[in-house]
Subunit: 217 residues, 2 copies
DNA sequence: GTCTATAGCTGGATAGAC
DNA sequence: GTCTATCCAGCTATAGAC
């Protein structure tokens, strides 16, 4: 990989972190990369394409970094703990989630939408495989919509990252509340142990009685 | 209220919805408001101040609109249903959450941060009062961190709004999964009825045994 | 591959006539 | 309060020398 290309990828991330998606221009990116501005177009064709490539590379790296920790997670509480560490690291790295900025920018830029969705999907896949492990063997696990839950967890985290930027104390409170909530999982599991079979059939019935959500595209 | 001021507030929202926070410039806003560009500075002083005022007014209106529905909510499932309606309406209104765009912009603009946090707080307060009603009398309600949970729900919703913009089908899946999850609430309540006192003490013990999250600032 | 230079816009903000 | 006109900084993108 040509060193310039790599510098531009890094510079794009720096620019997003320091100026947000709105301020990630050819000039700020080139300055952050310490590279001539015109080289962005030579190597990537457009700003959008550079941002997309940078976001994908950055996300892939971070998913890999956390993949091992996630593979050791054996409860919702532990998953939350990993989320907390990830959140702390994001804050240290520059107080902004690159993915959240791209998501915001993608709302009104069609060329950014698909690459951003693809980057987010990397996290979703990772979370889904954690859920697979956690839910196997539990009463709820037999009927749980794991892809849906994985998406819910991932996008909720994005929202939290954005919230952190405007209310740090509030974000801490969210983590405290989720921590508390995660204890309910164990309690439900305990209760389940009391009459596991009854619980299982109750869950199946309750969940299935609702209008089936037909997959749609 | 001078009609021009109101037109500018509306125009700012239109511009955010159509172009995102990055494209909400004096010129696009003035065009959407059908008002001379220089009047933004006469009436509001700066773009940031206009955006802040518009965001606050818009959020206050929408909170009021949904306040009655929220006051009738008597279960998590119903709360989710209101969330779904709100989400559908946002989509119809222009496929973008104004608050989410402001939140993204506020990450790197200090003058936007506090007003955005204040607007978001309007939703958080509303959700918190719903939680107060829902949790009163339940075993978990006695120890639940309601302000924290209200924030968690609110910011998760913001994340979902952003996700919708890049993956519509994925967002639908999230709602389906949450719907499914919301049935667990009833099941847990049922189980609780079996041995309510045992459950209550179990929850209290479990939740309190963790490191107390000291309020911090 | 990298540079300078520049075209052609759009940005926030202000001055000053009315 | 509203308008025109304008300053100047910043923007994306390209042309063309090296």
């Amino acid at each position: 990989m040509s060193s310039t290309k790599q510098r531009l990828l890094d510079g794009a991330l720096t620019a997003i972190r320091e100026h947000g998606i709105a301020g990630a221009s050819a000039r700020t990116i080139a300055a952050a990369a310490d590279v001539n501005q015109a080289l962005i177009f030579y190597h990537f064709g457009s700003i959008d394409d550079l941002l997309s490539a940078a976001c994908h590379a950055c996300t892939a790296t971070r998913v890999k970094e956390y993949s091992k920790q996630l593979s050791n997670v054996s409860s919702m509480r532990e998953l939350l703990q990993v989320g907390r560490e990830l959140h702390e690291q994001e804050k240290t790295l520059g107080n902004v989630s690159v993915l959240a900025q791209l998501l915001a920018g993608a709302q009104n830029d069609d060329r950014l939408a698909a690459p951003t969705a693809a980057a987010l999907q990397l996290w979703i896949n990772e979370i889904e495989s954690v859920l697979d492990r956690l839910l196997n063997g539990t009463p709820f696990g037999e009927v749980a919509d794991r892809p849906g839950l994985a998406r819910a967890i991932s996008v909720a985290f994005i929202g939290l990252e954005l919230y952190e930027g405007v209310d740090e104390a509030g974000a801490r409170q969210v983590f405290a509340a989720l921590d508390q909530l995660s204890y309910l999982e164990e309690i439900v599991n305990d209760l389940g142990r009391i009459s596991r079979r009854a619980l299982r059939s109750k869950i199946s019935r309750a969940v299935r009685k609702k209008t089936p959500s037909r997959p749609h595209s």
